[in-house]
């Protein structure tokens, strides 16, 4: 699809019924609706996006840019600002502040002509193509769900509901600061225990990066303290050799790694965890809960893989259950790492495909994209895993191409690249 081909194409003329429907649902039913929703129908239709994280915001930008403004895009997001999960482990390590990872939405909203509704989607009426918000409803031609992950705390034995002083900090924000404060007030000689769930979770190397960051802080300020990783998985799930270099090198005597350590029982009052092998007591406890697709995807009934993740077509990111609902980012079942770079790449493929579909063209049948993911082992040094992924029509999935791989070792040079990665992906997403 080129820009020229959009200009040359005949805009879809809405049928009378469609037109009536858009007047009824798109305009009048939504009390207090901003003026935009009553504007005349845009040539390529109206896309509603749920969630302004890496995935949703990127999709919004590229839908507007690549359609040359011929698509109307509405974003629904309850939060007042964008907080980056990438680098949030460095807040725990002490080399970043949360302010450095916090951004405003205004620039993106204005510069791409996005319609913005500060609210949450509570349910989706798939038959009538409407989303229900806490304050009214909104109709769509196509819906994009980009809600990130939901946390299944109730799956943790002994923790039926979230506990105020056991933050997971697996979504950057208040909990990140809370966990940092707990580490600061912990006496030297204390133990930080972090548990890692089995199954897919966002950012596979994230927990091991976190362990390194906490150990980096301890090494400087509380050298008698320990980091204990209770990993429910059989082994380190990402960049194993590289993390072991740190665990057994710089952080020897500080980080201890225990595999196959599923939580059998958790006592939230004494912060004691029982596994098959041991019973440990934490001074600061960080339980990373099992995860599943964002709540709105569950409510819409689109989490059809193990009741957790959403199955999509990797050419369009349409749900396998609902062709006019597209799902991108951490919520999908992809067998790929759930990363910010992946989320933005999926968003771009999805945006291009939606424009094609709205124009009546076939989307690119063989999408290709890249993923680079850095992990910091201290305040300066980082290491990467990088791959190209291409769609395999026989397997119906994105498959990593030959030649991908990881760093030889963590280095300061890669620490600089990792910083460049963060600034550039923030710029791509937020400007």
């Amino acid at each position: 699809m080129t820009h020229d081909s959009i200009l040359a194409s005949q805009p879809h003329t809405p049928s009378r019924r469609q037109f009536m429907r858009s007047v009824i649902y798109g305009g009048l039913a939504f009390y207090g609706l901003p003026a935009f929703a009553r504007a005349s129908k845009p040539p390529l239709g109206h896309v509603v996006i749920v969630g302004a994280g890496f995935a949703g915001l990127t999709a919004a930008k590229y839908l507007r840019a690549w359609s040359m403004g011929n698509l109307k895009v509405t974003i629904i997001e309850p939060n007042p600002q964008f907080i980056s999960c990438p680098q949030s482990n460095l807040v725990l390590g002490g080399s970043r502040t949360l302010d450095q990872l916090s951004f405003g939405y205004d620039l993106s909203r204005k510069q791409h002509g996005l319609h913005w509704v500060k609210d949450s989607v509570t349910s989706v009426d798939l038959a009538n193509k409407q989303v229900q918000l806490t304050r009214g409803n909104l109709s769509y031609d196509r819906l994009i769900l980009a809600p990130g992950v939901d946390f299944n705390v109730s799956k943790i034995p002994g923790m039926p509901a979230p506990v105020a002083d056991i933050p997971h900090a697996w979504k950057a924000g208040k909990q990140t600061l809370q966990l940092r404060q707990q580490l600061e007030s912990m006496p030297d000689g204390g133990v930080f225990v972090m548990t890692i769930p089995t199954g897919a979770y966002r950012c596979p190397p994230g927990p091991y990066e976190r362990a390194c960051q906490v150990a980096h802080y301890f090494k400087q300020h509380k050298p008698r303290s320990k980091v204990l990783i209770l990993d429910a998985n059989a082994d380190i799930t990402s960049k194993k050799g590289l993390f072991l270099q740190s665990f057994n090198g710089t952080y020897q005597g500080i980080i201890e790694y225990h595999n196959n350590s599923e939580i059998l029982q958790l006592d939230t009052t004494s912060k004691t965890i029982k596994t098959d092998f041991e019973t440990v007591k934490a001074d600061v406890l960080n339980v990373i809960p099992p995860q599943l697709a964002g709540k709105v995807a569950q409510v819409a009934g689109l989490n059809n893989v193990d009741g957790r993740w959403c199955e999509v077509d990797f050419v369009t990111y349409a749900s396998s259950l609902q062709p006019d609902v597209h799902i991108i980012g951490d919520s999908i079942s992809a067998g790929l790492p759930k990363s910010a770079h992946m989320a933005t790449s999926q968003a771009k493929v999805c945006a291009a495909a939606i424009i094609d579909l709205q124009m009546g063209n076939a989307p690119n049948p063989l999408p290709v994209f890249a993923n680079t993911c850095y992990s910091f082992v201290d305040d300066q040094q980082a290491m990467h895993v990088a791959n190209v992924y291409r769609y395999d029509p026989a397997k119906k999935s994105m498959v990593s191409a030959e030649g991908g791989g990881v760093s030889a070792k963590a280095s300061t040079q890669e620490g600089q690249y990792a910083q460049a990665w963060a600034e550039n992906i923030w710029a791509d997403t937020l400007t």
Binding site: Q81, L107, K348, N361, A362, N364, P367, V388, G403, E414
Partner: protein, 116 residues
């Protein structure tokens, strides 16, 4: 009659080529967009990595083919170059050569407001 068929065939061929080109263009700008995470929006890096916008096409191909065949050493890029086809490298070179070089916009930093 023969001529009519011939020109119809021509027309079909042209339409087919045009739409194939449009498809290729779509595929390439989507692939190129995935470079933005490290190289900035439309190849305009905020620093720390090379700017790809308006980069000389031959130089792009030469570097990437070098990363691909191992004759040019790299820290990260060989993991990408080896995964791309030569045709993709050529198409990316031409795509980025055509992008305007721009001073990237400042990031919309904002202090943390305490929610979330």
């Amino acid at each position: 009659m023969k001529q009519v068929y011939a020109s119809m065939l021509w027309a079909c061929a042209i339409i087919w080529t045009l739409s194939a080109q449009a498809e290729d263009a779509s595929a390439i700008h989507t692939l190129a967009a995935s470079c933005a995470a490290c190289h900035g929006p439309n190849g305009n890096s905020l620093g720390g990595t090379p700017t790809l916008a308006a980069l000389n096409q031959d130089y792009f191909v030469q570097r990437m083919q070098g990363f691909k065949d191992g004759s040019v050493s790299s820290t990260v890029m060989h993991h990408h170059a080896k995964g791309l086809t030569s045709a993709e490298i050529t198409a990316l070179a031409s795509y980025f050569a055509q992008q305007p070089r721009q001073t990237p916009q400042a990031l919309p930093h904002q202090s943390f407001q305490g929610a979330q």
